[in-house]
């Protein structure tokens, strides 16, 4: 008997669940994860005992989680907190199912960053190597500052403007108005954007995601099993990741080369082109990364991200409605997971006023230099 089966099947999401988002001081990350997983199990028509394995992201107290839920998973693994770890967490679940080792795996994310006072930046933040030695003495820290610098380079090379960044911020906030679960539900004008205080110039507060408490879970199983579940399955038609975290400096090319490779692989695996994609979910910890990601994944020519977004292509009425839940900028910073849930719900067609018509294919994009993409579809590939 070989270690892995030759299962030539697909993997599908059969349940999704989320908590409320915001300041939730009565919960820690573990309890937020349990809350989300219970909702996902209910959505799938399963009990927690039906779940064979759990891949955790961010929430670290797996022992408490298992004790409280009385689960007995045959796969249990924890990935650390960075949003980049979404891809690896999902890959573990997918591999376990495809190999035939397990039938049903949950990915569970819990984040109590707001209540815990999580800070991105400062002496505990190792985002970017060489940080302690060659960055901190100059006051250089925080993911936002890295994106501010990257945007400045993009602006210098390609003429990208602050008003184009503002379009992204405003579009996602307009989408959040249609999402009762979004934390920030207030339309913003160009003047509101320009009046927002700088955090790391040229980026303002409205270019930053919203740190909040919350949990997200998805339950995955084989395509074969998925057909008997309560929900119509949403298939993972393609998935690709590439990590290129070389050197303690900004990526020379905004992650472009890395994303190009991920883009090629995910579309080939999914058997669909960009033309077939109805909506995009883009990891938006800061507004500039949305531009870099659209370019890296070939949705517009290199350097054209700013001009691409300025006429409303990302809005619900545009060609590529993006972050229809409001994204990290307006719904809540769930490090990619709530964007994946939104993708599943778009494909299912259950999103009411923010539903994209004919959303048979939806793509999740996470920028470089550690880039991940997933293509979800109503039909298996």
């Amino acid at each position: 008997m070989s270690l892995t089966s030759n299962r030539k099947d697909s993997v599908a999401v059969v349940g999704v669940g989320m908590t409320d988002f915001g300041k939730l001081p009565d919960h820690d990350a573990t309890s937020l994860g349990i809350w989300a997983l219970r909702n996902a199990a209910e959505d799938a028509g399963l009990t927690l005992k039906d779940i064979d394995g759990i891949a955790f992201h961010r929430l670290s107290d797996y022992q408490k989680f298992i004790q409280i839920t009385s689960m007995s998973p045959r796969l249990l693994t924890v990935n650390p907190g960075a949003g980049r770890m979404l891809g690896g967490t999902l890959q573990i679940a997918v591999q376990a199912i495809l190999s035939g080792m397990l039938d049903t795996v949950a990915v569970v994310y819990g984040n109590d960053g707001r209540t815990a006072g999580a800070r991105y930046g400062g002496k505990e933040d190792r985002y970017g190597t060489s940080a302690e030695q060659l960055w901190f003495p100059y006051g250089m820290t925080s993911p936002g500052a890295i994106h501010a610098m990257a945007f400045q380079r993009h602006a210098a090379l390609y003429g990208t403007t602050i008003e184009q960044l503002a379009t992204i911020s405003r579009t996602f906030r307009d989408h959040a108005l249609l999402n009762p679960g979004a934390v920030m539900r207030k339309p913003i004008s160009m003047q509101d954007y320009l009046d927002a205080p700088f955090i790391c110039e040229p980026l303002r507060r409205l270019d930053y995601c919203l740190i909040n408490d919350g949990g997200v879970a998805m339950i995955l199983t084989s395509g074969e099993r998925a057909r008997d579940m309560r929900r119509k399955p949403v298939y993972l038609r393609g998935m690709a990741q590439l990590s290129r975290l070389a050197q303690g400096e900004l990526p020379e090319d905004f992650g472009y080369a890395t994303m190009q490779q991920v883009s090629g692989r995910v579309h080939e695996m999914a058997g669909v082109s960009r033309e077939d994609v109805a909506a995009l979910m883009i990891y938006d910890n800061f507004t500039p990364t949305v531009l870099f990601t659209l370019e890296g994944f070939g949705y517009c020519p290199r350097g054209e991200g700013g001009r691409f977004v300025e006429d409303g292509v990302l809005s619900l009425k545009g060609r590529y409605p993006t972050n229809t839940n409001g994204g990290h900028l307006s719904e809540s910073y769930m490090q990619g997971w709530s964007l994946n849930v939104e993708a599943v719900r778009q494909v299912r067609g259950e999103l009411g006023t923010r539903q994209v018509p004919e959303a048979g294919i939806v793509q999740y994009l996470q920028g470089g230099p550690l880039s991940t993409s997933v293509i979800y579809g109503r039909e298996p590939s």
Binding site: E132, Q133, L134, M140, T141, A145, Q152, Q247, E249
Partner: protein, 141 residues
């Protein structure tokens, strides 16, 4: 005179040479024996070609601003906002995070990407001299 409050590098066996050179007014970095790439981390191998073996070499201290930003939020004690941070690309290729000095207000307009800059050595404590940059040809403030 108040004590220096900003973060200081921890000097160890890997980076001792770098900080010893800056105290003497030289900018030195490790350079790969095989492919010639300079490095801004202090390890005995090359991340460009994988070769194990580097030597230290002095750089010209001339470069251009490659990226810039200006902090309006305090993350470390000792910094008064707003303050600028730049990434400078040296003539020889490597890039360093630094502060640009010798500007009138320290705004981003005064330190555009592409601006020619040259090194200045700022002895912030008896042990640590930081490498900073000023616009080329201008007197340091």
């Amino acid at each position: 005179m108040s004590a220096y409050q900003k973060p200081l590098p921890v000097i160890d066996d890997h980076n001792r040479r770098y900080w010893a050179a800056t105290r003497e007014g030289r900018l030195e970095l490790p350079r790969c024996d095989a492919c010639g790439a300079f490095h801004t981390y202090f390890e005995p191998w090359c991340n460009a070609c994988g070769h194990e073996g580097v030597h230290w070499e002095q750089l010209s201290g001339r470069g251009r601003i490659w990226a810039n930003c200006r902090f309006h939020k305090v993350y470390f004690p000792g910094f008064e906002t707003p303050y600028n941070v730049a990434m400078v690309e040296l003539e020889e290729g490597p890039r360093l995070v630094t502060n640009i000095v010798g500007l009138e207000h320290g705004t981003l307009d005064e330190m555009p990407i592409g601006l020619a800059v040259e090194v200045v050595f700022d002895a912030v404590t008896p042990e640590v001299t930081l490498v900073k940059f000023k616009p080329a040809g201008k007197a340091a403030a």
